[in-house]
């Protein structure tokens, strides 16, 4: 693989892993959501995320060539080879935690895909374009819940504020500068995510304010960095569950 090709592969893995890991976390709600209707809604969103992950990892496998498959990338990589942001891998927590993570990530993904529609890389542009419709709905779903939970009862407000406080420290990472994005942005393939920060912050802040919630100031930088493969232990546990069948029965078919 030449360097340009390697950068594109890494970028596709970033995009794909974010959706794969978040989708898996969401799927953990299946059968456990507070009410039936929400159970179906979360499972729908999980499926959308996994679908988007499939598109990106598929494109990555094609760039790699040599018979590499989408499944190889999803099921046979180790934690340090995953490039997802840390916020995606945190345990699902309570319903408030899940909803607030979705809200913060949906806003980010919406802005990101909006830009990526204009990527010079055809597949990236196509995936972003068709996924944007789904993300738009995800954002509507999580935004509504943020209002209800934040500005709901005393208990829902408290749980929302706690979830937000815990998650906020992980939002710095969404906008870290990153060599691969920088290189590919020069060729109009990628977009540098730090450029999305102001718009993201405006939208998120305004909505959280309406939901009567407060944003903490981010004081410390997180020492982990998902994009370079340095993850929390939570990813190990997630992957061992997600990959167990494929690893225990190599090449199994049904």
């Amino acid at each position: 693989m030449n360097l340009k090709n390697k950068n594109v592969v890494d970028y596709l893995l970033q995009l794909g892993d974010d959706r794969l890991i978040l989708g898996h976390r969401l799927s953990e709600w299946c059968g456990h959501a507070p009410i039936l209707e929400e159970d179906i809604a979360l499972a729908n969103i999980a499926q959308d995320c996994l679908g988007q992950a499939t598109f990106f990892l598929n494109a990555a496998a094609e760039e790699i060539g040599n018979g590499k498959t989408t499944d190889d990338l999803a099921y046979l990589r180790n934690p340090n080879q995953f490039k997802n942001l840390l916020i995606m891998e945190l345990p699902k927590g309570d319903f408030a935690f899940t909803i607030f993570r979705q809200f913060l990530v949906d806003n980010y993904t919406f802005l990101l895909y909006q830009q990526l529609q204009n990527s010079k890389h055809n597949q990236i542009a196509n995936i972003a374009q068709k996924s944007l419709k789904e993300v738009k709905y995800h954002l509507r779903h999580s935004s509504e819940w943020v209002l209800r939970l934040g500005d709901g009862t005393e208990i829902s407000h408290e749980k929302s504020q706690n979830a937000l406080n815990e998650l906020w420290a992980y939002t710095n990472e969404l906008f870290n500068e990153n060599e691969i994005e920088k290189k590919l942005a020069e060729e109009n393939i990628a977009i540098e995510s730090f450029k999305l920060k102001n718009e993201w912050l405006d939208k998120v802040t305004q909505h959280l304010k309406t939901a009567t919630l407060k944003i903490l100031e981010n004081k410390e930088e997180n020492i982990f960095n998902g994009r370079s493969g340095k993850h929390t232990e939570h990813l190990d546990h997630l992957l061992s569950e997600m990959q167990i069948v494929v690893r225990a029965y190599p090449g199994a078919k049904w």
Partner: protein, 103 residues
């Protein structure tokens, strides 16, 4: 929490109607629970419209639907079958007309 309180804590029940194409009638798809109309619309989308493409969704609070009761049945529908002259099959066509239709 007592059973009675619990019952009051249930979100409202809504009925969902889906329209397949513009101009078609909305057809009852089922019901769901939701706290308000936006949630009802989103839940209807998630629960009932995920496997087919639809044009439009209606949600309406179940309690706002006025339904007839069993005891209305006699006076509402009981005599329908007696009024056979309300069906076109009741009328005999003149032979000439029949031939016209056959063409």
């Amino acid at each position: 929490m007592t059973a009675e309180e619990n019952k009051n804590d249930q979100w409202e029940l809504w009925e969902v109607f889906l329209q397949g194409k513009t101009g078609e009638a909305h057809i009852h798809a089922g019901s769901l629970r939701a706290a308000d109309k936006e949630m009802a619309l989103q839940n209807a989308r998630d629960v009932y419209s995920r496997r087919e493409k639809f044009e439009n969704i209606w949600v309406v609070k179940s309690k706002d639907i006025i339904a007839s009761t069993q005891k209305d049945n006699d006076s509402f529908f009981g005599t329908v079958e007696d009024k056979i002259y309300r069906h076109p099959q009741f009328y005999k066509l003149p032979d000439g007309m029949k031939n016209e239709f056959k063409k």
